[in-house]
Amino acid sequence: MNDKWTDRLSEYVDGELPAEERTALEAHLTTCADCRAILEELRKVVARGRALDDRGPKADLWPGVAKRIGAGKVVDIRSRRFSFNVPQLIAASIALVVVSGGGMWLALHGSAPETRTPVANVGQTVIQNVRGVETSRTDAAIADLQDALTRNESRLDTATVRVVRENLALIDRAISQARLALDADPGNAYLNLHLADTMRRKLELLRRVNAIATAQS
């Protein structure tokens, strides 16, 4: 059975027929039992589609995903890709200028007098000074956000607060370890970047949790 209205029944079910056609179709339905039957079945198909159960994969796909995203993998420092923020780039470029300038001076003047500060140490000092300024700024931002989180915590549920605290504790431990390691080896570029990266993560986490908490109000 197929009349001129059959192909319009889905649009009718979805409420997408223009008013004039809807009125005409409804008049047709009063006299056409076939179209009424099809219409009823189409409504059931729509309901069935909406009620389909989601079924997961037969095997656990997480191990494959974890492997591809590098979850749980020990980071190989040599292959690690770093992202640099502007202060880090400034620090690196200042250090490069100093080291390059020192290298040029050495090339032009031969061996440096014993009283001069070694070029590498000058570069390290610059990195440390810039890092010091940057980390103290980050520390201040983190302190502000932690204060904000303390005020906003009541807007978060208990489980969420627990997860956030656990993760902040983990990040804090990583920051402490990085700082201890830097005390022993202040010029270590990897440790500097690792500290900056870990602090950035803490900053980002605090920002987002505060945003979530604020959005609850």
Partner: protein, 173 residues
């Protein structure tokens, strides 16, 4: 009260794989079902993994304007459509002469080999199947579907009607 998932999303965006695993566990069934219904079942596992790897890579672009699930779902649809494009699946084209009823009814020979509703859905021609999944299962509008598939809304409506007409035979299975 805050949504714990939003916190997990923030944690995952900051590089926490454990948080991302929790998101995976929450959403894998829905993503896998979407992929399986829109593509062949034997591709569903690989594509589902692709979706989550892609989500991990793009999490930094998630701004929280929508729920994570909504964002992930749209990402999954894009991955599926890109996959189809890559494969150059000819049968996915919306051909005027295509008759969805033939494809389904050809498999329904006797009650012994009758199909259930999901199986009937998987046997629809790709165009009708995609539109049905996106519209009736996932709730997208014809205008959105038309943009995703590169067709006009009228084609999407027509494919949907053909799919429904074919599937009504399998309501009780």
């Amino acid at each position: 009260m805050a949504d714990a998932e939003a916190v997990d999303t923030a944690l995952a965006a900051s590089g926490d794989a454990s948080a991302f695993e929790r998101l995976y566990r929450t959403h894998v069934n829905r993503v896998h079902s979407l992929v399986r219904r829109m593509l062949d079942a034997d591709e569903a596992d690989d594509l589902t993994q692709d979706v989550f790897v892609r989500a991990w890579q793009k999490l930094s672009t998630f701004r929280g304007e929508s729920a994570f699930g909504t964002w992930l779902h749209r990402l999954a649809v894009n991955v599926v459509l890109a996959r189809r494009k890559t494969l150059g699946v000819e049968r996915g084209r919306f051909q005027a002469g295509e008759d969805p009823l033939e494809h389904v009814s050809a498999r329904r020979v006797t009650p012994e080999i009758s199909m259930d509703f999901e199986e009937a859905l998987s046997n629809l021609p790709d165009g009708a199947r995609q539109v049905f999944v996106l519209h009736d299962v996932e709730g997208y509008r014809h205008e959105e579907i038309a943009r995703m598939l590169g067709v006009v809304p009228g084609t999407s409506k027509s494919q949907l009607h053909h799919a429904r007409m074919a599937l009504r035979r399998y309501l009780d299975r």
